[in-house]
């Protein structure tokens, strides 16, 4: 039973907000049909009514187009200093889907409901009103004169409708910018932010003023049956008409407002390439450029032994796509608002990181480009070290690779690969590694696992479990225990529970025991791609030699590595996390959870199972199968779940900053009132075990942390319920 409704993934949410298109489309169709029905042939108006020298418009337009070409060209020369971006010609269908869903339908923007409505209002009004204005131009300049009859009336109607919609959006934006305290959009506020929103307000208001004056001076009296189609301007015109201005006064005012409207509109359009408004172009393009593979996969450095620079140490080491997306950033702060490091007051804000890189690109990019052209050493150009001065080491180390920033970014920036690229530089090129992370890496090199000082061996957990089958190629599944599952005391019982449950379900499986070695995930996340590749290649060979086809893992990090990253090394296996396998076993009835486990629990989604691999349902299904368990979701759950703090190699690092991420997350778990927090990841369990005593100093009534397999173990085998639970 689930008491708080878990947040559903974007696909089902889209239906609700997507319905905003329905009423507007409905009203438009209704308006069009009514207009045709009425068949008021002859309805039209004079285009460029009351305006002399309209050719000036085209002069301005030419200047504007020139500015845009210049502005984008300036950006493009900077992107061009980047490295080639591989794979852009692959998966074109998927990329086009991204373009439509993320670029045009703006699915990510809607993850913030308020912003979703606001942005839709502004976006649709700009699109429609630009279309309206363009029709006026085409009608007149191409001499088509199609703005007549019912279409003219309908045109008047939707012009006003989207003007009103635009004003609603602008009002929402103004409210958020000036009245909503401490809002993320003000974390990096600049003059352009004010200019853009007030400019938009001025365009829309002057547009209405224009229509109102024209209608008051002309249509209201000459064609009173046409005028109401411009419903908003008509209402205003009725008001203005009461002042009984002379026609020449109205016409004079109209002339001024017309030119004013034009100048503001042109000026505003001119802002596009020089401000964050450039996202109008860059966001959809970036949606097309977005990766098509799993967000859990980091890029492979090909032919690593032949490279001179291993990571990204200077701005031109990024791919041009990585440079391009810096320009797409609109400083909305969504990434930073969900960043676990930032929430805990640690020195990482993904938005500021992107902005700092963008500034750095603008600072040194032209000189780098020039040096490249002239054949000078491009690496000697920058007076600042990008990694170290512009982006601090501690910023790069604070990243959990949880993917929350990437998921929220409405313009599809991928922060995590960019951060890891710089981490690779720190580790492989500069060898600047925090002491504890270094110890983990050295341990991986020397001992094949990251747990320095463990007193366990990879077979310790087998004690007391009877006959543990060793995988020999004849079994269906390899049960991959992982380093934490065998070498960290707290995680041993989880391994034992999974093992017992697999055996109970009659699964054909075996383990590697002493032959297991780290699959390399911590090395890759800590930036040592070289070490990762050595470990990964070895293990892929071992798997192939042993004829491994299907793998069940204890750990979501192992799961992600095998599933998403080993294909880069020609290791293609069917990989299941234990929650997926156990949920299946419960559904097919090979496992039966018959013993009630009376307990109030909350469920924590690990990032590597949840957000990065989309496994939200299987663990919740298991909880539904356990009799007596009452689940209360945390305020941040499913795709919005908060990292436990251990991801991205932070399991082996000292945290720098105001708070520890695991304390924040533990508080959120405690707030649910649950007596146990259930997770699926050995790191999460360790982080909760560490966080709980800090958040609940009193031992009495303290929350406990369990892996979901431990809970299921009790339900299947009837072991005593947890203390306090």
């Amino acid at each position: 039973m689930t008491t708080t409704e878990p947040e559903r993934p974007a696909s089902s949410r889209a239906r609700v907000v997507g319905s905003w298109w329905l009423p507007t489309t409905g009203v438009s169709v209704f308006g069009l049909i009514t207009a045709i029905e009425l068949d008021r042939t002859g309805a039209t108006r004079e285009i460029f009514f009351n305006v002399q020298q309209p050719w000036a418009v085209y002069v301005m337009l030419s200047v504007l187009v020139g500015l845009m070409v210049y502005g984008i060209g300036r950006h493009a020369t900077l992107w061009a200093i980047g490295q080639p971006t591989p794979g852009l010609r692959e998966q074109v269908a998927k990329r086009l889907t991204h373009l439509v869903r993320l670029g045009l339908a703006q699915e990510k923007i809607r993850r913030d409901r308020y912003a979703g409505i606001m942005h839709w209002c502004i976006f649709s009004s700009i699109v429609v009103l630009t279309f309206v204005t363009a029709q006026v131009a085409i009608d007149d300049d191409l001499g088509l004169h199609f703005l007549q009859g019912p279409y003219y009336l309908f045109f008047s109607f939707y012009g006003d409708l989207f003007g009103v919609i635009g004003l609603v959006g602008v009002s929402m934006a103004l409210y958020r910018r000036y009245f909503d305290d401490f809002h993320r959009i003000r974390w990096d506020e600049r003059l352009e932010d004010h200019l853009i929103i007030w400019g938009l307000a001025a365009i829309l208001l002057s547009g209405f003023a224009l229509e109102t004056l024209r209608i008051t001076a002309d249509e209201l009296h000459q064609h009173p049956d046409w005028a109401p189609w411009s419903f908003a301007s008509y209402a205003l015109a009725l008001g203005l008409d009461m002042f009984k201005f002379e026609e020449h006064q109205l016409l004079a005012a109209h002339t001024w407002v017309w030119w004013g409207h034009l100048v503001i509109a042109m000026g505003w359009l001119g802002l596009i390439v020089f401000t964050k408004l450039d996202h109008i172009f860059f966001a959809p393009i970036n949606a097309y450029l977005l990766r098509t593979d799993s967000p859990g996969r980091l890029t492979k450095i090909e032919n690593i032994e032949e490279r001179e620079v291993f990571g990204v140490g200077q701005i031109q080491d990024f791919t041009w796509k990585q440079l391009f997306e810096l320009d797409a950033c609109v400083r909305c702060g969504r990434c930073t608002a969900v960043c676990p490091a930032n929430i805990a007051g640690q020195p990482l804000s993904p938005m500021h990181l992107i902005q700092d890189l963008k500034m750095h690109l603008a600072d040194v990019g032209p000189a780098v480009q020039k040096a490249g052209h002239e054949g000078h050493d491009v690496r000697a150009v920058s007076p600042l070290a990008m990694v170290g001065d512009v982006i601090k080491d501690e910023t790069l180390w604070a990243c959990r690779t949880c993917g929350a920033c990437v998921q929220e970014c409405p313009v599809m920036i991928e922060h995590v690969p960019t951060i890891i690229d710089m981490r690779r530089y720190l580790v492989m090129d500069e060898a600047r590694v925090p002491a504890t992370a270094q110890a983990a890496l050295e341990n991986l090199e020397q001992r094949g696992h990251p747990w320095r000082g463990t007193t366990f061996t990879r077979t310790t957990w087998m004690e007391g479990l009877g006959d543990v089958p060793i995988f020999d190629g004849s079994q269906e599944y390899l049960y991959w225990v992982g380093c934490s599952g065998s070498l960290v005391e707290r995680n041993l019982p989880v391994t034992q529970s999974v093992f017992k449950l697999l055996r109970e379900a009659g699964t054909s499986f075996g383990v590697l025991g002493q032959e297991e070695t780290c699959n390399g995930d911590p090395a890759r996340r800590l930036g040592n791609e070289y070490l990762y590749q050595i470990l990964a290649q070895q293990l892929v060979e071992t798997f192939k030699a042993k004829n491994v086809q299907r793998v069940i893992t204890n750990c979501p990090h192992c799961f992600n590595t095998f599933k998403n990253e080993y294909p880069q090394f020609d290791g293609n296996f069917e990989v299941l996390h234990h929650t997926e396998f156990l949920a299946q076993a419960l559904q097919t009835g090979t496992l039966k959870a018959t013993h009630p486990v009376s307990s109030d629990v909350t469920y924590h989604d690990s990032c590597y199972l949840g957000r990065l691999n989309g496994v939200y349902d299987a663990p919740r299904q298991i909880l539904d199968f356990v009799p007596g368990v009452n689940v209360t979701e945390m305020k941040r759950n499913m795709s919005r779940g908060l990292c436990c703090g251990a991801g991205g190699g932070n399991m082996w690092q000292e945290e720098v900053g105001a708070r520890r991420v695991n304390h924040v997350r533990t508080e959120e778990a405690v707030e649910t009132g649950a007596t146990s927090v259930i997770s699926n990841c050995p790191f999460c369990i360790q982080m909760f075990e560490d966080g709980i005593p800090a958040v609940q100093p009193q031992e009495e009534g303290r929350m406990r942390a369990f892996d979901i397999a431990e809970l299921l173990d009790k339900a299947v085998f009837g072991e005593p319920a947890p203390r306090n639970g």
């Binding site: 580790v427 090129d429 060898a431 002491a435 020397q446 310790t460």
Partner: protein, 265 residues
């Protein structure tokens, strides 16, 4: 300047006790656990590298006496920044004690010729004898400062800060000299990948007993002065004593008393 680092490859000191076995008075290498560079020797390497950074124009040679597998330890020090590696590998060296080890290493240092200073770990983390550095100094007739936490160059001498049980002591020893380095020096550096790759490509010179001009009867088991009589694994065990007391103060007093009774403080 020419510095020498003496590096020893040892069974992993972090081998879990349950994987540790003794048979016929010898340690059986634990299955699947690779030998490592003795941690104190990594610190000795770090001390030499720091000296190289401050002194400039310095060559560092790393020497290891061991089997072919000790190449890994040499490569590790090369990756950290040493320039050349020498492996002293000969069946005759097997089964030696600190005395014969020092003798072999000293012979190699003599053969290198122009060595100014030798850096050893304070002790090898397997047998913990702490004799080899001193033995080399004795053999070469050089001064030796042991258990160093800081080594600086001052003209023709080394200024060495030594760790004592109750503080530090600074000594100056004229070159050529030997230093043994302690963990208080700080963490050894993490090599850059470029260096690891360069180290992997370097050829390590191998010298046998003949190359060093030594007599096989004077080295290894034949030349040893120390004979191993018995080797046993300590039985691990533990006991818990709960200190009674109403208040934390009383409990603390009880704890102090218990520690005094046990002659720990």
């Amino acid at each position: 300047m020419h510095l020498v680092i003496c590096a020893k490859q040892i069974p992993d000191p972090e081998t879990p006790p349950s994987a540790f076995k003794i048979e016929a008075n010898a340690v059986v290498p634990a299955a699947g656990i690779s030998p490592v560079l003795s941690p104190f020797d990594a610190q000795a390497a770090e001390a030499a590298l720091r000296l190289k950074e401050s002194a400039g124009d310095t060559k560092i040679t790393v020497i290891s006496m061991g089997k072919e597998s000790a190449q890994a330890a040499i490569k590790q020090v090369l990756a950290m920044g040493a320039d050349e590696g020498v492996l002293l590998n000969d069946d005759a060296f097997e089964g030696g004690d600190s005395y014969t080890t020092a003798k072999v290493l000293a012979a190699a240092i003599r053969k290198l010729g122009d060595v100014d200073a030798v850096f050893c770990g304070r002790q090898a983390a397997d047998w913990d004898m702490g004799q080899v550095g001193l033995g080399i100094a004795e053999d070469l007739g050089w001064p030796c400062a042991i258990v160093a936490k800081d080594v600086q160059l001052d003209g023709g001498a080394l200024v060495v800060q030594r760790v004592l049980t109750d503080g530090f002591e600074t000594v100056k020893e004229p070159l050529p000299a030997v230093v043994t380095v302690s963990n208080e020096l700080g963490d050894p550096r993490y090599p850059k990948l470029q260096q690891i790759m360069q180290a992997a490509k370097k050829t390590v010179t191998t010298w046998g007993v003949g190359d060093l001009g030594l007599d096989a009867s004077g080295v290894g088991a034949a030349g040893s002065k120390l004979k191993l009589v018995a080797l046993a694994q300590p039985a691990a065990g533990g006991a818990v004593q709960i200190i009674a007391g109403e208040t934390p103060e009383e409990q603390a007093q009880g704890l102090v008393q218990a520690l005094r009774d046990a002659r720990i403080i």
